[in-house]
Amino acid sequence: MAPRKTASTSSRKTAAKPAKKDFTGGTIADFSKEDDLKAYREMLLIRRFEEKAGQLYGMGFIGGFCHLYIGQEAVVVGMQLALKEGDQVITGYRDHGHMLACGMSARGVMAELTGRRGGLSKGKGGSMHMFSKEKHFYGGHGIVGAQVSLGTGLAFANKYRGNDNVSLAYFGDGAANQGQVYESFNMAALWKLPVIYIIENNRYAMGTAVSRASAQTDFSQRGASFNIPGFQVDGMDVRAVKAAADEAVEHCRSGKGPIILEMQTYRYRGHSMSDPAKYRSKDEVQKMRSEHDPIEQVRARLLENKWASEDDLKQIDKDVRDIVADSADFAQADPEPDASELYTDILL
């Protein structure tokens, strides 16, 4: 996937046009300089944040499970570019990137990872369970597949209230095999609910390659028996994600019901911090990193189009590192929750 060249027109308007009939998920959005710079910055923030989280885990500041999003950054950043205020996002436990992309503070996320009172859940949720009413982020769920029904419920609420917001329910290739996913698909199609099902196909569910767990490995077709349209998208190219997102959002907002986007992506790290990842070759990982890296693609484009100099990019790198370093300092210095918090937030 060498970066494809695109002209720099005022892209946002072009991309927001109503969905074309021949939508295939293979479209590349026209990215302006601003789009590429924004995507670069956002993806880099997720990457650096996750690297730091991995480091803090190694130092024992973060405990339990910690699932990093490194490699998959283009998916959530591209999707987010197509949303408007009030659209909801929900995902599983690999959620740090989603929260940063939703605009939740790096300090809040990192302090939750270290279990401190300044964390987004006051330290009570941890890596897998964070929420933000303000940013319309509904978690952060540890039970594989549960967020799919919940995300369908968010869409139900939009339809019930008669607003035109859409709900984005993210889940993995492994989660796509859970029964409640199909129960949800049926209801969503039956009731024409505005939900975008985003299957982040990173090729593995823990140690199980897609082909060992899935009879139908084309996840875009998983809604076929409910007549839910679905498309495969190059989830390593933020422009392809953005184009698919625009059209999917338009589909949902205009009352046509649910849609499925299979994002073909890759996680560079193990499933969680304790996964030695023996089930895939180092070459496979290296090849993805060197040939398809979502951040490198944008970086190359920025330089090639002379939209940014090496120095400009260095400055962005520095800004991002500063945000991450600040969040890590905060997350280590912030006190643990007060003992009285043990008994709060159980019932109203």
């Binding site: 024992g60 405990g63 339990g64 918090e341 043990l342």
Partner: protein, 465 residues
């Protein structure tokens, strides 16, 4: 400033590891994400990746060093233009010495799984009372709970072709917690079956196969995920024998880690002992020692009924004596007197035993001689053993990690009150986890779990001391 590369913690429960190999050498340039070294944890060989960019200035811990504590500096990374001389050499050398020093306090550790945060007491030092089901003089072999469970399954699979194991990551990955290690290699893919992440579906598939007489062992990666499948477990597995007028049942074992691990928060930390013990048509087993894990898992596999077999991740790495016998099978439904005593009775099971054992050791110092009973099976419950003990001591404390309301402890208290009221010299006390979802923060998690002090206090209270 040169950056110290520290020994990372690479699992929720790792405290130290072996630095097995340096992939990069002094003088090599590294980028973030480059693999710089390999370390071995109890479960796996893991790669250490560079977080920062720079040049490896000095390797502080040579390859092959064992017992390197998490957070020890293992190398120094130089930034742009720095030279190796700029390093804070004395500090580094100090740390190295520290890392190489023998670890005396190791013996105190509960298990390689035991985490710094989970307040799990150390393994028992005192004698375990002899189990009458093990012939005197039998040779004992130190075995981890992990190995004992694996051996039990392997022995039963050798013995009976109808026994098979299925679940997520049980085959090629060798088990998410390595309980099924080696089974795929010995028994092949027909009998060691990786499932998709579809708990409700594969639990039902297992029950259906069991209705024809096969004997599935269904592993849940953890029992938290069995909630997806609980309908098949209760409505299908537990009730078929009754509904069919005895024509067919479900000889199936549902097993996996149950209860709180370390720092995995609300959705991954709960004890299901009381939940399943509510259901007629199920047997519920929750072993503590490796011997019980082995003998009872073998019994569960042979049992013609559905058995819920509740393990615990924190106990997996603990070692206990397991009898060396050709066919070591223990009776389901029988408690084991872990230690004899006269002043008070403590009943516990599973990981609850770790608190109880520490507590009775402390109480002994205060001159209180506790009889400790390991329930082992929650349903059917061995009430006679408990009552016999209460008749002797007149005092009872029950210890468990699960929630306090409608708990195993309250069930025992009710029944003992009904059947041995006249023998009681004090109200029965129950120690349980707190009545809250499991919090993530280390300090709150500690508070949410039972602790040894609570058990000690409860026993003193029932003894009026």
């Amino acid at each position: 400033m040169p950056i110290e590369i520290l020994m990372p913690a690479l699992s929720p429960t790792m405290e130290e590891g072996t630095l097995s190999k340096w992939v990069k050498n002094e003088g090599d340039t590294v980028k973030s994400g480059d693999v710089i070294a390999e370390i071995e944890t109890d479960k796996a060989t893991m790669e250490v990746e560079a977080v920062d960019e720079g040049v490896i200035g000095k390797i502080l811990i040579p390859a092959g060093t064992e017992g390197v504590k998490v957070n020890t500096a293992i190398a120094v990374l130089l930034q742009d233009g720095e030279s190796a001389d700029a390093m804070a050499a004395p500090k580094a050398a100090e740390k190295q010495a520290e890392a190489a020093a023998p670890k005396v306090e190791e013996a105190e550790k509960p298990t390689e799984q035991g985490s710094a945060s989970a307040p799990v007491p150390a393994a028992p030092k005192g004698e375990i009372a002899a189990d009458p089901d093990i012939p005197a003089g039998t040779e004992m072999v130190p075995t981890t709970v992990r190995e004992a469970l694996r051996d039990a399954m392997a022995e039963e699979m050798r013995r009976d072709d109808d026994v098979f194991v299925m679940g997520e990551e049980v085959a090629e990955y060798q088990g998410a917690y390595k309980i099924t290690q080696g089974l795929l290699q010995e028994f092949g893919a027909r009998r060691v079956i990786d499932t998709p992440i579809t708990e409700h579906g594969f639990a039902g598939v297992g029950v259906g196969a069991a209705m024809t007489g096969l004997k599935p062992i269904v592993e849940f990666m953890t029992f938290n995920f069995a909630m997806q499948a609980i309908d098949q477990i209760i409505n299908s597995a537990a009730k078929t024998l009754y509904m069919s007028g005895g024509q067919m049942g479900a000889p199936i074992v549902f097993r996996g880690p149950n209860g709180a691990a370390a720092r995995v928060a609300a959705q991954h930390s709960q004890c299901y002992a009381a939940w399943y013990s509510h259901i007629p048509g199920l047997k519920v087993v929750m072993p503590y020692t490796a011997a019980d894990a082995k003998g009872l898992l073998k019994a569960a596999i042979r049992d013609p009924n559905p058995v819920i077999f509740l393990e615990n991740e924190i106990l997996y790495g603990q070692s206990f004596d397991v009898p060396k016998m050709d066919d070591f099978v223990l009776p389901i439904g029988k408690a084991r007197v872990h230690k004899k005593g006269n002043d008070a009775t403590v009943v516990s099971f599973g990981i609850g035993m770790t608190y109880a054992i520490k507590a009775i050791a402390e109480l002994e110092k205060d001159g209180i001689d506790v009889e400790l009973i390991d329930l082992r099976t929650i349903r059917p419950m061995d009430l006679p053993t408990i009552i016999e003990s209460v008749r002797k001591t007149g005092r009872l404390v029950v210890v468990e990690e699960g929630y306090p309301q409608s708990s195993v402890g309250t069930e025992i208290a009710t029944r003992v009150m009904q059947q041995a009221f006249d023998y009681l010299d004090a109200p029965i006390l129950t120690i349980a986890g707190k009545d809250v979802p499991m919090p993530y923060a280390a300090n709150l998690e500690k508070l949410a779990l039972p602790n040894v002090g609570e058990v000690v206090q409860a026993v003193k209270t029932v003894c009026y001391k």
